[in-house]
């Protein structure tokens, strides 16, 4: 995440994304409302997984809270190790996902940058990203003793079939019944239509923003996308997100028109795979910038639009289950490889950087195969960085720097 510079360098100033401050403001407001005592805010709170269907919550006036987003904040503020260690003291093995460990520990000590998340009134878990979230939400369901809804989204190893479609569609209906019961009111289908439209609009805008990096020089890098992503995750389905992304898109278009790139000198273009390394975002970003390498796209931030082909505007709810089931992480390794190949072509990239993320097994296992597929089909160099998104103990600075250097030389 960019932070304030001490000495103002006019060139750097020019390259800064101006919307950043607005984004911070919106996110601060969002967390402020959520942290307001319940009697004052009135709205119930649902904790939900990052790939979970948030739209029905907005339609029901429930505030969605994303422990994973908070995990990222914990990582970025370098508070990860302390919380992870606390989870280990509680008996959770060190090899579990560090988002989960950080959140489980944070809940017991009100830890992290905003002093803990507001307590949930319900938990919504969608396993389209991993099996970890199921176990993690079970832990929280026991801890907070609140109802847990599981949206079970069968993986597409090779195909998504009719039985799966039927199953997820039925669960969408169960989800609505669950919300009606917990909130004690009827579901508002009209409002759902509006929220559905806003969600789709937000995703389209987000994709358009990501696509501006098809230009040379790219007006932003994936490190900026990691920052601006918070909105499509947490406020998907709201006017706020749409308005903000319209503003950001306009700024990006303006930068493109003026030829302002994020890098002073963009020589190489790269694609990033897997989650960001939150506690080293700035360091890594600089390492690549110094070497004139621009990370133009990534599989992570585009993940929130990867269900777009399966969405139906006229019947958002009807297709909710299927669209959420068919995100790229919930598919076979070869399908994931195809996704990266498409990105390399689309963004005209010269290489791929893989983050082999100890925390995230479903995202990381299979990367070696993807690497081979890319080398075979595209013949471009790839780099594998071993780390963890939140737990700094798995980060070896010197080793990673040496690898980056060797990789850049191959480009």
């Amino acid at each position: 995440m960019p932070s304030d510079e001490k000495i103002i360098d006019p060139d750097k100033e020019r390259r800064k994304i101006k919307c950043d401050s607005k984004m911070r403001e919106i996110m601060a407001q969002y967390y402020m409302e959520a942290k307001t005592p319940k009697e004052q805010r009135g709205k119930p709170i649902a904790w939900i997984t990052s790939g979970g269907p948030v739209e029905p919550l907005h339609a029901m006036d429930v505030i969605p809270i994303y422990p994973e987003n908070y995990g990222a904040m914990i990582g970025a503020s370098k508070m990860g190790v302390e919380l992870c260690e606390r989870a280990e003291e509680m008996g959770y093995p060190r090899d579990l996902c560090s988002y989960a460990r950080a959140d489980i520990a944070s809940a017991t000590v009100n830890g992290g940058p905003i002093g803990g998340l507001p307590e949930p009134d319900m938990l919504i878990c969608c396993n389209n990203i991993c099996g970890t979230v199921l176990k993690w939400y079970e832990v929280q369901a026991r801890y907070y003793n609140v109802p847990l809804f599981i949206l079970d989204t069968p993986i597409t190893h090779t195909e998504f079939n009719d039985e799966m479609r039927r199953y997820v569609t039925r669960q969408s209906e169960e989800y609505i019944r669950f919300l009606e019961q917990v909130c004690g009111k009827k579901f508002d289908y009209d409002r759902m239509k509006v929220v559905g439209d806003l969600s789709i609009r937000g995703q389209e805008l987000w994709q358009e923003i990501l696509d501006t990096t098809m230009n040379r020089p790219a007006p932003m890098t994936c490190f900026d996308a990691f920052f601006h992503l918070a909105m499509i995750v947490t406020l998907r389905g709201t006017q706020t997100a749409v308005d903000y992304y319209e503003m950001l898109l306009a700024e990006m278009k303006e930068r493109v028109a003026q030829g302002i790139g994020m890098l002073p000198n963009e020589k190489y273009r790269l694609v990033w795979d897997n989650l960001p390394i939150w506690y080293r975002l700035r360091w890594l970003s600089n390492k690549f910038i110094e070497r004139s390498a621009c990370l133009v796209a990534d599989t992570y931030t585009s993940g929130w639009t990867s269900w777009m082909p399966f969405v139906d505007r006229s019947d958002f709810l009807g297709f909710l289950g299927e669209s959420y089931a068919r995100i790229f992480l919930n598919s076979g390794t070869d399908i994931m490889a195809d996704n990266i190949i498409r990105m390399v072509k689309k963004y005209d990239a010269d290489g791929v950087v893989f983050h082999s993320n100890r925390s995230c097994k479903p995202y990381s296992f299979g990367q070696y195969d993807i690497q081979r597929i890319i080398q075979k089909k595209l013949g471009i160099p790839t780099l594998m960085i071993e780390a963890d998104m939140v737990d700094e103990r798995s980060f070896s600075e010197s080793q990673i720097e040496t690898r980056i250097d060797a990789f850049i030389e191959m480009l």
Binding site: L134, K135, E138, H157, Y167, D334, P362, F365
Partner: protein
């Protein structure tokens, strides 16, 4: 042959057994990874369901496919496949369980070159009506996949036979557990484990016969007087390390129950032979205590463990799971807390691989048994 010797041999050389079976019968061998594999369907297709556990050989080839932070079961199995140690397999099936198995399926499909590959994409929850309906359709699809993949017709009659024989095996295994519980000393822990290891790969008809002989033998055997030993329940992941039983015994303990998917979870619950077969298979999975990769309420496994401890008047619990295993890692703290609340002592072992941890295990196990 002495049935115990038969089981010992097979448990030590399961691959040899499968090879001989193949030569002997001309049948096909289908590898599988999990207790959620509906073995009845494979048996009904005339094939041998072979549970892959990994031979424990050094890992080198698998390193190019899987990172080091993957459990040794997944890495070891892939290693065996890549090294040609599973050349007798005609295919493999992957029930969807944990994230590691999920990706193993992809890697296996793309790299090992066995003919038949099936994913059984089960629901993750087993406690709702829509999930159960979905499960029925998944098993139906698997039945078709088997027919296509193995080139057979899987009739209802053959399925009924397979269910019957698998039920028989389950009942016999349950009797064995019961014998062990009521007549201490009739069979050693290592031997019992050998029986289970063999049961995961043997022709089910042969298995039922051998088990019946063994049960008769043991029922007649004199019981040794070791009621004084500490009674232990195992909880956790599969254990491909027979010596843990010996370790416990040598330290003065006796394993009276477990919730391993290669142990009690393998035989618990019968398939209702009077119902439509696929429905009946589904029903068994729905009723059986879940594995940690599946969901049936948030206390399912903890409650079960407590029940088993009480039922078997156990003195302590040993948690045992593989390093890097997410599902078990997440469940451990709450299950331990449930035991703590009841004053039941427990200890946890995270096992890296089969061999490296034995010495350490012994020391800690002795200390634990001394303490309780």
């Amino acid at each position: 042959m002495d049935p115990l010797q038969l089981f010992r041999d097979i448990s030590q050389h399961p691959a040899d057994y499968a090879r001989q079976w193949k030569t002997r019968t001309g049948g096909k061998v289908v590898g599988n990874f999990c207790s959620y594999t509906p073995q009845e369907l494979i048996v009904a297709a005339g094939a041998l369901p072979y549970r892959i556990l990994g031979s424990g050989a050094d890992i080198s080839r698998a390193d190019s496919y899987l990172q080091a932070y993957c459990c040794s079961l997944v890495r070891g199995s892939l290693e065996d496949a890549l090294a040609g140690r599973l050349e007798f397999l005609d295919g493999a099936v992957f029930p969807h369980t944990c994230d590691s198995i999920q990706r193993l399926s992809d890697i296996w499909r793309m790299n090992t070159g066995f003919g038949f590959h099936a994913d059984i994409i089960l629901p993750v929850k087993l406690d709702t009506e829509s999930a159960v309906d979905y499960m029925v359709s998944v098993l139906r699809r698997f039945r078709q996949d088997l027919e296509k993949g193995l080139g057979v017709t899987l009739t209802d009659a053959r399925l009924a036979d397979a269910i019957r024989i698998c039920n028989q095996v389950r009942q016999l295994l349950a009797t064995l557990y019961e014998l062990r519980r009521t007549r201490p000393g009739v069979i050693g822990g290592s031997d019992l484990h050998a029986v289970f290891r063999a049961a995961l790969v043997m022709d089910r008809v042969e298995l039922a016969e051998a088990l019946a002989t063994l049960v008769d033998q043991l029922a007649a055997a004199p019981q040794s007087q070791d009621e004084s030993t500490k009674r232990i329940v195992f909880s956790g992941g599969l254990c491909s390390m027979p010596d843990i039983y010996r370790v416990v015994e040598e330290a003065g303990g006796r394993v009276v129950w477990d919730d391993f998917c290669t142990g009690a979870r393998y035989f618990e619950g019968l398939v209702d032979e009077t119902r439509e077969p696929i429905q009946a298979l589904t029903e068994r999975y729905r009723e059986r205590v879940v594995c940690p990769a599946k969901h049936a309420g948030i206390y399912n496994r903890g409650t079960y463990l407590l029940e088993k401890v009480k039922e078997n008047r156990a003195d302590g619990v040993i948690f045992l799971f593989l390093k890097f295993c997410d599902p078990h890692g997440f469940d451990y703290p709450y299950m331990k807390a449930m035991l703590d609340k009841e004053g039941i002592p427990s200890i946890m072992f995270e096992i890296e691989d089969q061999l490296s941890s034995e010495g350490q295990l012994r020391t800690r196990c002795e200390a634990f048994l001394e303490m309780i």
